[in-house]
């Protein structure tokens, strides 16, 4: 499983990256969280609102900063 956080480098994007790393840690998953700031990569994924949380190349959260509970739920949902 590939977990990516994409953002233009704005504070909200960094916050999502930190929260996602924490969520992955708390869920005990053996995977790294990638942080992508290349805007072309973000746009290629089809989204324009940052920050984005993508799992296996598919955006699952876009344009808002969720709380850690929501991030964990989203990841768990994607593992199933």
């Amino acid at each position: 499983m590939i977990i990516q956080v994409l953002g233009s480098g704005c504070p909200t994007c960094k916050k999502l990256f930190e929260l996602t790393k924490q969520a992955v840690g708390e869920l005990g998953l053996e995977t790294d969280v990638e942080y992508i700031t290349d805007i072309q990569e973000i746009v290629k994924m089809g989204v324009m609102s940052t920050p984005v949380l993508a799992i296996d190349g598919k955006p699952v959260i876009a344009g808002s900063l969720p709380d850690i509970k929501k991030i964990k739920e989203t990841i768990k949902e994607a593992i199933k």
Partner: protein, 322 residues
């Protein structure tokens, strides 16, 4: 009846009874004005931004793009400008929006209509106009902004300036048909609440300073003080106002109350409108950032067309609203 009448009563009561300032003095006028306007603006900001955010949660840029890639040229410009109203804009979102639109096949002119409308007609500016100038001026502002963005986009489309976009932009094609995760009603409300709080946090100080200085001008500067310099008879007032507005983008919330007070002192309405449109619609940081995706020449053409549109609007309303 004015729905804000109770606020006026509250402001009067605080000024005369609580702070014990003698009525009909300059100080009383300024304090009364400050209390009334500050409370009114914060109520309007909270309510309107919350409402716009809810609407926006149904129409994110990704969905707007889907709509726009199916429209023909002229309807595309109109729809793009209308959708630009509800989309907030910061210079950090300009590049993803531009790439995302153009690479998914939205025409360049239509993309520009959106890029003009989105910052110019923004919710903070609208609230300030509504609260400080009333709904007529707010409506005039929206309509003029729409017409400028529609026409600028059509003109840029007609000029066929695709060659002035950086080559890499057209080398990458993307599929604009992405399915975004659905939001539940609760998530929409949380999103709108967080967004509203975020905006309030960002602008409150500017609003208070702006209204504070505005209140001082309101109370202490003689009426018609500026008429001889910036009245509607002065031809250079409009272009000058537009030039001064360009570097002030991030401060729209603080600039508008200031301008509102200046209007009472003799700055004519068309000049005021042109100045506010320039503050929101022509932004230096945005131009710098757009250099990543387009040649300087295109940015200059884009800024000139919008600038001329704004100046024209200024003269027009100086003439009509005399």
């Amino acid at each position: 009846m004015d729905i804000f009448y109770p606020l006026q009563l509250l402001a009067d009561w605080l000024t005369y009874n609580v702070f014990n300032i003698a009525p009909k003095t300059l100080l009383a006028g300024a304090v009364d004005f400050f209390i009334n306007d500050t409370i009114k603006i914060f109520i309007l900001l909270s309510v309107i931004i919350f409402f716009v955010s809810i609407v926006r949660s149904y129409l994110p840029p990704e969905k707007i793009r889907k709509v726009l890639s199916h429209k023909n040229k002229y309807t595309g410009n109109i729809v793009a400008s209308l959708l630009g109203i509800i989309t907030p804009f910061c210079s950090c979102s300009a590049i993803p929006l531009f790439l995302g639109f153009v690479q998914a096949g939205v025409p360049l002119g239509v993309t520009f209509s959106f890029l003009v409308a989105s910052p110019m007609i923004n919710e903070v500016a609208l609230v300030m106009l509504l609260g400080l100038f009333g709904w007529k001026i707010a409506l005039i502002y929206i309509f003029s902004g729409l017409i400028i963005s529609i026409l600028s986009g059509i003109i840029i489309g007609k000029m066929k300036l695709e060659n002035l976009v950086e080559p890499f932009v057209y080398q990458n094609k993307i599929n604009g048909n992405v399915d975004l995760p659905k939001m539940t009603r609760k998530e929409r409300i949380i999103y709108a609440r967080d967004y509203t709080l975020d905006i309030l946090k960002r602008v409150w100080l500017y609003v208070i300073i702006g209204i504070g200085v505005g209140a001082w001008i309101h109370g202490y500067v003689p009426a018609d003080f500026l008429a001889q310099y910036a009245g509607s008879g002065k031809w250079y007032a409009v272009p000058l106002a537009v030039l001064i507005g360009i570097p002030l983008y991030s401060n729209a919330a603080g600039v508008i109350p200031l301008v509102s007070a200046l209007t009472e002192k003799g700055v004519s309405m068309g000049t005021t409108l042109a100045f506010m449109m320039s503050v929101t619609g022509l932004s230096l940081p945005e131009f710098m950032i757009l250099k990543k995706v387009m040649k300087t020449k295109l940015i200059i053409i884009f800024a000139s067309i919008v600038g001329i549109g704004i100046i024209f609007t200024g003269y027009l309303f100086n003439f009509i609203l005399r």
